[in-house]
């Protein structure tokens, strides 16, 4: 009799949770994403806490991402950061590799980051629901409020790359096409599709506002150049990088 009662109780308590998880975006977020992603904030305040991070923070996703990209990405997840979110775990600097190949004596990536990303893929209906839930997370409106993209300051790809590489040195960490650029930053050839222009403007101006201990420096980018760089990134993301292959 006791067993039957316990079973009945279990069914009663667990079934609403199960049924809601299928439809409700916030429920899916809580159940499947919260284990690795930070959904509540605040961002890590010390360097130690930063190194404990397993996945990108999502608590300001509504200020950061474009909804269409989120829906698309969650159905077909691919790696965005070549060195992973936490590059201390993925960079190999063993002294043994040094003299093996002449001219290739630097640290290398290794481990899980060389394989395709392991990430949960959602069904189309779930992805839409989760994207809607993510777009509601907007704690940093104050940082994007003053930011407006000036589309009249468009630059060509060549001029944009000069700004990106030679003037501000962003290329050392960010890739402007697959395999061309540094590893430790997020790829920027998808940034225009991935991120809201206001977010890019605000983040480049002062990364510290969004993530106090992040390893992206404040490049002191001039306001005019900032507009040009973000316009360049948006143009860049419209390029077809698979065409050459």
């Amino acid at each position: 009799m006791k067993r039957v009662l316990i079973l009945a109780l279990l069914v009663v308590f667990s079934s609403p949770a199960l049924s809601s998880a299928g439809e409700d975006g916030a429920g899916i977020l809580k159940q499947r994403c919260a284990k690795c992603h930070d959904l509540t904030g605040p961002a890590p305040q010390t360097i130690r806490k930063l190194w404990e991070r397993d996945a990108p923070d999502l608590f300001y996703a509504g200020n950061k991402f474009r909804r269409e990209w989120l829906v698309e990405w969650m159905q077909k997840p691919v790696r965005v950061r070549p060195a992973g979110v936490n590059y201390l775990r993925t960079i190999n600097s063993s002294p043994t590799q040094k003299k093996e190949v002449e001219g290739k004596n630097y640290d290398i990536l290794w481990g899980s980051v060389l394989k395709p990303l392991r990430h949960l893929a959602l069904k189309p209906a779930e992805a839409t629901a989760v994207a809607d839930a993510l777009m509601k997370l907007k704690p940093y409106d104050k940082y994007v409020s003053g930011m407006n993209l000036d589309t009249s300051m468009k630059v060509g790809l060549d001029k944009g790359e000069v700004l990106f590489d030679k003037v501000y040195g962003c290329l050392s960490c960010h890739q402007v096409e697959p395999g061309f650029g540094g590893y430790t930053g997020a790829e920027v050839y998808t940034a225009g599709r991935r991120l809201q222009p206001e977010f890019m403007l605000s983040y480049i101006t002062r990364p510290k506002n969004w993530d106090p201990k992040i390893w992206m420096p404040n490049g002191n980018v001039k306001p005019a150049d900032l507009q040009k760089i973000v316009n360049y990134l948006i143009t860049l993301s419209k390029e077809d990088f698979n065409a050459a292959n």
């Binding site: 360097i47 130690r48 930063l50 190194w51 060195a83 590059y87 201390l88 960079i91 600097s93 002294p95 004596n105 630097y106 640290d107 290398i108 990536l109 030679k166 003037v167 501000y168 040195g169 290329l171 050392s172 960490c173 890739q175 061309f180 650029g181 540094g182 590893y183 430790t184 002062r206 510290k208 201990k213 992040i214 390893w215 420096p217 404040n218 490049g219 002191n220």
Partner: protein
Amino acid sequence: MQPIKILFVFATLMFIATPAAYAEVAFMNYKSYCMQCHGMHGKGDGVNVPAMNVRPRDHSDNKYMMTRTNTEIYKAIKFGGPAVNKSIKMPGWGDVLTEEEINQMVGHIRTLCCEREILRGVNFK
């Protein structure tokens, strides 16, 4: 234990523990911010090197580093390469690191290049 002894132990601990804690913070910061280009062991061989047209400084290069003053290293970290007539590829970290952390970082870089000179008591200015 006599109070004076406790005081003595406490003072000794302070002398040992405080610099060690500082050194650890600087080491962590070096591993987080500098390592991407200057390498895990500061030999100018970071993971981003293949993408760069300027080779990052080898911090273990005693000959070169001995020609730089602490003030110059401090400036390079805080305001970036152009502040000391070097490449733009070295960004300024003044926004991320505090004044104290930058000073500790200068000390940390000195331990990478010039340990013998530190023991000898050289004034790096």
